[in-house]
């Protein structure tokens, strides 16, 4: 394949080319549409029409603010940040709460939660299913939920989460630790109720 085809360019190179020729923006959409759609769905925008509206706004904001992209950051962090903010303002505009988190792969989270280093905080029954995790995620504080989604479902590292949520790296660790504990407590209490 030609080294200069859009598919072979880095995000930063695509951004630079988009600033010259807007057609290159299509490559950004191709690269991030599915990821961002999944991300905003995980944040609670579950209706496909709403997802499309939010995604459109996200990409338009990305386009309009391309010159604001700080090249010392990862482009993915920057675009996730815009998606995150757009999902939050969508809730506010619609005056609704997240419609449940799309957690299909809760085993992964359970694995993380019950990892050795966290065992003392996450002592709960491993037989819980995805719908229970979804319910529990809805009940924990939004600030913890956001970090858990980025860490365990979007597989972002601490620095990326810091850049997406615009919080210090240290706070990411703290939020994650407290979030896991709150989630474990929530899952435990659910198990007791059942």
């Amino acid at each position: 394949m030609d080294a200069d085809t859009p598919q072979n360019l880095t995000d930063v190179q695509i951004v630079a080319k988009t600033l010259v020729d807007k057609q290159f923006f299509g490559e950004i959409v191709d690269r991030y549409e599915a990821k961002l759609k999944r991300y905003i769905a995980r944040l609670g925008v579950r209706n496909p029409d709403d997802q499309l509206d939010v995604l459109q706004e996200v990409f338009l904001k990305v386009y309009k603010n391309l010159n604001a992209f700080d090249r010392s950051l990862q482009f993915s962090s920057w675009i996730y940040r815009i998606a995150h903010n757009e999902a939050i303002s969508w809730y506010r505009k619609k005056n609704v709460r997240p419609e449940g988190h799309l957690i299909a792969d809760s085993e992964e989270l359970i694995g993380f939660l019950s990892a050795k280093e966290d065992a003392q905080d996450a002592d709960f029954d491993k037989t819980i299913n995805a719908s229970e995790v979804n319910q529990a995620l809805l009940k924990i504080d939004a600030k913890y939920c956001e970090v858990i989604i980025l860490r365990f479902f979007e597989h972002k590292d601490y620095e990326e989460i810091s850049d997406i949520l615009k919080i210090p790296v240290g706070s990411v660790g703290t939020l994650l630790h407290r979030g896991k504990k709150q989630l474990a407590d929530e899952l435990n209490s659910e198990a007791i109720r059942m």
Partner: protein, 308 residues
């Protein structure tokens, strides 16, 4: 929008590119974002600079006032400091520190730093800047300029004048303008309000007399004998020290010297009373307060000489 498009996810790219074309959307210029960043940093710089100014004035007040003869005007050091501390500047400093945090948090990478780190660094910078400003005497100058320009602003000069131009409380500021025939007992003194007083100086120490005779502005402690007749009995004299060049060391020296003089006057009074009691063959303490020299009865002088 979605009704026209049964498979929106497949066409998002084209929809967006069409919309960009149709609405002639353009990325905002780099200059726009750069200017925004510059404005935020400029606001941060201003907040640190104003914070530094607040520190400079506060440092000036604290270094200057800690050697003040607070006993002359207040019951204790605490009530004195409560009256003279520039609370408005303490408030300004706190507000500027918070504003600095707000600004840094809104810079491109400000979110990476914790509030405590930004707060601490802004405070340290303001303190460093404030100390530097005060080193060049700007703390006093700005306080005095604001006092001159804004009637509502209580500068330290105004506070000092208000504290010492209180004849009914036994305090006057001003300078000696003339002497009488009996220079060792009465002088003519013009106070801060422009009134002329006949001041009895019999109880003053030689150093107080020298200060008065030098014609400089002074603060005088004593008792008003007659306000309509403008007669004042002086017990102690201090130079007016509320100006730019005065150092903490000079203030400290003046305080020590004044306390020493006040103690000497008090000791002398006690000795003369004891001598009088011996001469008259009466018991200790038999001479009542009314017959003692005037300065021995003034509350401020008793506080200064630790005899209260």
């Amino acid at each position: 929008m979605n009704e026209k498009n049964p498979h929106p996810q497949k066409n998002l790219k084209n929809t967006l590119l069409d919309r960009i074309e149709r609405e002639k959307l353009q990325p905002r210029s780099r200059m726009f974002f750069h200017s925004k960043e510059c404005v935020i940093w400029a606001l941060w710089l201003i907040s640190v600079a104003v914070g530094a100014l607040a520190v400079a004035i506060s440092v000036f007040v604290v270094t200057h006032r800690q050697y003040e003869i607070y006993e002359a005007t207040h019951e204790n050091w605490f009530t004195f400091m409560v009256e003279v501390l520039p609370f408005i500047w303490v408030f300004v400093f706190c507000a500027m520190a918070l504003f600095a945090v707000y600004n840094i948090k809104h810079t491109k990478k400000g979110y990476r730093y914790s509030v405590s780190t930004i707060l601490a660094s802004s405070i340290v910078l303001s303190f460093a800047g404030g100390s530097a400003l005060q080193f060049f005497g700007l703390g006093y100058s700005i306080d005095a300029i604001l006092g001159n320009q804004m009637p509502i602003y209580m500068s330290q000069v105004k506070i000092e004048r208000q504290l010492w131009q209180q004849p009914e409380e036994g305090r006057l500021i001003g300078k000696q303008v003339a002497t009488t025939v009996a220079t060792s007992s009465i002088i003519i003194f013009e106070d801060g309000a422009g009134s002329r007083w006949r001041v009895e100086v019999q109880e003053l120490a030689p150093k107080d007399m020298t200060l008065l005779a030098s014609g400089i502005n002074v603060r005088m402690l004593g008792e008003t004998m007659s306000d309509p007749a403008k007669i004042f009995h002086a017990c102690g004299v201090l130079p007016w020290m509320m100006h730019k060049g005065v150092t903490a060391q000079q203030m400290s020296d003046q305080r020590e010297s004044f306390l020493q003089r006040a103690n000497q006057v008090a000791q002398k009074t006690e000795n003369s009373i004891a001598d009088l009691e011996k001469e008259l063959f009466i018991e200790d303490g038999a001479i009542d307060e009314q017959t003692k020299p005037i300065c021995a009865n003034i509350a401020a002088m008793r506080r200064i000489s630790n005899r209260d």
